[in-house]
């Protein structure tokens, strides 16, 4: 039964849609990587196929933004503090590594940056939740 509370309703719809879009991402990623490895190097189709998992990620973005606009003001504040923490730490870490690379430190794969941002966002939200408890 649909809850009359708009925040509860938004949370439930977000959970359902998030599972769906991230499920699509998890399914399409190995397929895309597998296909790209089959195709010969230089084939322009490789670019197209490797970008397929980005589509469910864009859908997740839409789902997330819709959720953020529908939850209550306090939840938005907690999320904002989580983002601020994540963004600030990511800037410091990536800048530090950039400086180190200038000094000869080995270059790291940029794919770890979004993973780190999501992890830090989670920590930031946990810190904010703890502060307001």
């Amino acid at each position: 039964m649909a809850s009359p509370n708009p925040t509860t309703r938004a949370n439930r719809q977000y959970a359902r849609s998030f599972i769906l879009t991230m499920g699509l991402y998890v399914v399409t990623l190995p397929f895309a990587v597998g296909f790209v490895n089959i195709l010969p190097e230089g084939d322009p189709l490789r670019y197209l196929i490797i970008l397929v998992p980005v589509l469910p990620l864009l859908a997740t973005l839409v789902v997330f933004m819709r959720w953020l606009r529908r939850v209550d003001e306090f939840q938005r504040k907690v999320q904002f503090e989580g983002f601020a923490f994540s963004m600030a730490v990511t800037i410091i870490v990536t800048l530090t590594l950039g400086f180190l690379e200038r000094a000869g430190f080995p270059k790291l794969d940029t794919l770890w940056i979004p993973i780190m941002m999501i992890f830090l966002w989670g920590i930031g939200v946990a810190i904010a939740n703890g502060r307001y408890r």
Binding site: P6, F74, Q75
Partner: protein
């Protein structure tokens, strides 16, 4: 800012979840309001006052949390 939310809720024998549903917010939001850790927007403050059929200044008072 101080508020009488916990007392007003207790008088009506509502749980935090019940009050949250009546206001359309999460239970965590009610907890943050009651502990004085979070000051609501004017919009939410008016909504709370209206729910308790009181003036806004009868629910919220200026000053530090006790």
């Amino acid at each position: 800012m101080r508020n009488r939310l916990r007392v007003l809720r207790a008088e009506r024998e509502w749980s935090q979840g019940e009050l949250a549903d009546r206001l359309g917010v999460s239970r965590q939001t009610i907890n943050a309001l009651e502990t004085g850790k979070y000051d609501p927007s004017l919009d939410l403050a008016f909504k709370i006052a209206r729910l308790f059929e009181m003036k806004i200044e009868e629910v919220f008072m200026p000053g530090e949390e006790e």
